[in-house]
């Protein structure tokens, strides 16, 4: 193999200026590992390197086996390498406090609280997150800065907008995009940062993904978002494929073949300058030896070392009995309705299989006799693939009796929302007596205003809320959009409610809307009516991400998690060797940790040879899932027709 890989050409600094490497990808794909390995490899090649993590649950200290924290810290055992962990929540809070501080002089505590609540917006969080990047994009003392997260297309668009909206800035007005004025000071800095991001000599955007079609789809979407902003994705690292030597039965041989096909697809289809792969290890990747193995494979084209025989990593006494953790009856109780409609929310990061779990649950519940609607807000619209039938923007019946499905089409929702707002504004002007007012120009103004990312959020929320008013269902199952986004959608109504209660701020807010959101929030908070389930696979990062999201949901909206779905559990009947024994023991270790953290009933779903497609396969899959396999038939009401 060549010692000069494409990945190396891309990542290795070539000029005098500091270069930047951003790793983008979902939690649990090994982004931290690849970032750490990249930073280590660069440092080993004598580049002065800084590693910046903005992971809310960083595991740098596990990986380097050294405490790091919020200050730039030199890594003991590696020359030229420093690292820093930034807590994004803390950064957002600091940003908020900086904004509020000067107001304290003028406002009392009550008023300050109102402003604080207003600043609790997703836009402010994104600005604060972008600040984290900007802070380190002027680091001349380093040859290269490696970030283990990357700004999304959405964030960059958000930061770009102020320059398009110069008129708004000059007037000193503010937009829902964020505090325009406070951004003005930083405008030059932001513009510079965006220029740097767009300069592919100086900046590398790299994606890390799993060898799964859904992972690759997701990456392609993010990459095309970025490319619209003039940012090229140069490197793709496919991490965690099954090593050939450990797949010795049809189940895992088949899995491996699927993965290799995805890797092939990635190489041919994905428009990256280079693709690299790294195999699944029997345990978690920690310690410098494994890190340098990862770096060696990706950048120097070396063969990966997989120590499959080391079953000694696992303390068998500690492994837990999965059966005792499962509690089908408690899970079933959370799934089925009481007197009112039951709302089921399956939430979790993309790629954890929540669409499949949601569709399977909906199918089994419908089969048991409950009138069921399953709704997806996922822009990727997996539901159509899963049911193998078309699913529309409005509830559409699928072949299973009692079952309807719907997909929130973002564009349509936005259009509906726009029309609604414009109608309202038109009506408002119809009542005005001002003689000289140019109504058309005023409406055009609003129309332009509706082109903002915030309007998209608003629109999705409107649609989401509308499903709470669908009559005639015993159960409504939401296969929600990826956690962070969903949380924001869910949080927003409660924020608005705050504004509305405080009255004076949102002048003229229609009370009807306020009540409607109130009702929705109350329904979501009521465990008799709503069940929130976090879907995850039993590994460190996914568990931590889900836990944080669950805590957010509890703290900010007052919603308790009803149960946890542990997906992709390795089946006991396949993978009879030390490698899978290790993997299984690791899963069990995390199942136990999940149980401890969440303290809720757990639903277990096994890893399948293929993802279920179509109603027959969904039913069969449901039979293998805790709580779904033995749902009692709904008592049929006697109807006289």
């Amino acid at each position: 193999m060549s010692t000069h890989t494409g990945a190396r050409e891309i990542v290795e600094p070539s000029g005098k200026d500091t270069e930047f490497v951003f790793f983008s990808g979902k939690g649990g794909v090994g982004k931290s590992t690849v970032s750490c390995a990249t930073a280590t490899w660069l440092a080993d090649n004598n580049y002065e390197t800084l590693l910046v993590t903005t992971d809310p649950a960083p595991n740098l200290s596990d990986i380097f086996q050294q405490e790091i924290g919020h200050e730039v810290t030199e890594i003991d055992d590696i020359d030229n390498l420093s690292a820093i962990e930034i807590d994004p929540d803390q950064a957002a809070e600091e940003y908020r406090q900086e904004t509020i501080e000067p107001m304290r002089e003028l406002l009392d505590d009550e008023q300050i609280k109102t402003v604080e609540e207003q600043l609790n917006s997703p836009c402010v969080d994104e600005i604060a997150a972008f600040d984290n990047f900007v802070d380190f994009m002027n680091s001349p003392e380093y040859d290269v800065v490696v970030f283990d997260t990357a700004p999304t297309g959405h964030t960059i668009r958000l930061m770009e907008l102020p320059s398009d909206w110069n008129a708004e800035l000059e007037k000193g007005g503010s937009t829902c995009i964020g505090p325009a004025a406070s951004m003005e000071d930083k405008k030059a800095e932001y513009e510079q940062a965006i220029d740097t991001l767009q300069d592919d000599e100086q900046t590398t955007f790299a994606f890390v993904g799993k060898p799964e079609d859904s992972s690759l789809d997701e990456i392609e979407r993010s990459a095309s978002d970025l490319s619209e902003l003039g940012i090229n994705s140069q490197l793709l690292v496919v991490n965690g494929y099954l090593p050939d030597s450990v797949c010795d039965d049809p189940f895992f041989e088949g899995k491996r073949a699927d993965e290799q096909a995805v890797i092939e697809r990635a190489k041919t289809e994905f428009d990256a300058d280079a693709t690299a792969t790294y195999p699944l290890q029997p345990g978690e990747i920690a310690g410098l030896d494994l890190l340098s193995d990862v770096g060696g494979v990706i950048y120097d084209g070396e063969e990966a070392t997989v120590e499959i025989g080391s079953a000694t990593d696992v303390d068998t006494d500690q492994s837990v009995d999965v059966e005792t953790l499962a509690d089908p009856e408690s899970v079933a109780e959370q799934l089925t309705p009481g007197d009112d409609t039951r709302y089921l929310f399956f939430t979790g990061k993309g790629g954890v299989g929540k669409s499949t779990v949601a569709a399977t649950s909906a199918t089994k519940l419908a089969e048991a006799g409950y009138e069921t609607l399953v709704v997806t807000t996922d822009p990727a619209a997996h539901l159509e693939d899963i049911f193998g039938e078309p699913v529309g923007h409005e509830p559409t019946s699928v072949s299973q009796a009692n079952l309807d499905a719907a997909r929130i089409d973002q564009e349509k929702a936005l259009e509906e929302y726009r029309e609604q707002v414009l109608d309202h504004v038109q009506e408002m002007y119809a009542d005005k007596e001002d003689t000289e007012l140019d109504v058309e120009a005023a409406i055009a103004n609003v129309e332009e205003e509706l082109e903002s990312p915030c309007a998209e959020e608003m629109a999705a929320l409107e649609k989401f809320v509308s499903y709470f008013q669908e009559d005639g269902y015993d159960i409504v199952v939401f296969d929600t959009a990826p956690t962070g986004h969903t949380l924001r959608l869910l949080e927003l109504p409660s924020d608005w409610k705050g504004f509305m209660d405080l009255g004076s701020l949102t002048k003229g807010a229609a009370p009807a809307k306020g009540d409607q959101y109130d009702e929705v929030i109350e329904t979501m908070q009521d465990p008799e009516q709503s069940s929130f389930a976090f879907v995850m696979y039993p590994e460190y990062t996914p568990m931590m991400e889900a836990y944080r999201a669950a805590e957010d949901l509890k703290d900010q909206v007052g919603i308790e998690t009803a149960f946890v779905v542990a997906n992709y559990l390795l089946p006991g009947e396949y993978g009879d060797n030390a490698f899978f024994a290790n993997r299984r023991a690791q899963q069990e270790k995390y199942l136990d940790k999940i149980k401890d953290r969440f303290e809720t009933p757990m639903m277990f779903a096994p890893l399948r040879r293929d993802e279920p497609v179509g109603l027959d396969e969904l039913r069969a899959f449901g039979d293998e899932i805790t709580g779904l396999s033995d749902l009692t038939e709904r008592e049929q009401e006697v109807t006289i027709s």
Binding site: T99, P102, M103, E105, L106, L107, D108, Q111, T114, V115, Q118, L119, S121, C123, K171, G172, G173, S174, T175, C176, G178, P179, A180, A181, V421, H424, V425, M428, Y429, K432, E433, D434, T435, E436, L437, D438, A441, A442, N445, V446, E449, L450, S452, C454, A455, M458, L461, E462, P493, W496, F499, S504, L505, T506, K507, G508, A509, A510, K513, Y517
Partner: protein
């Protein structure tokens, strides 16, 4: 050139099109100001407490008024140094009148 300054409460979005429902008053005043800027020789400045707190702290008169009455005294409309309205937004017609007055020389009856 006439200067029109609007001191407003803390809010995330002065255009009014942000939230479940558009804020009618804000939508109207934003459009009115845009139109007035085109029709009159006027420079419009909007200072909202959240984003332009400095303008509140540095303008003694406004500072005192908010200090004394709380934010309910807002919005305050100032045309060439004169406070022409407080606690409410003016309509397009009202604003246009103020600007006409400010721009034509005082006419003694």
């Amino acid at each position: 050139m006439t200067e029109l300054t609007l001191y407003e409460e803390a809010m995330c979005c002065s255009t009014g099109v942000c939230g479940p429902d558009p804020d009618d008053e804000l939508v109207e005043v934003s459009a009115a100001l845009d139109q007035l800027e085109e029709e009159y020789d006027v420079e419009v400045t909007r200072a909202n407490m959240q984003h332009n707190i400095d303008q509140f702290l540095n303008t003694q008169r406004i500072y005192d008024m908010v200090q004394e009455n709380g934010p309910s005294i807002l919005p305050i409309t100032v045309v060439d140094g004169d406070i022409v309205a407080k606690s409410e937004y003016l309509s397009y017609d009202e604003l246009a009148n103020e600007l006409s007055d400010a721009q034509s020389p005082p006419q003694e009856a």
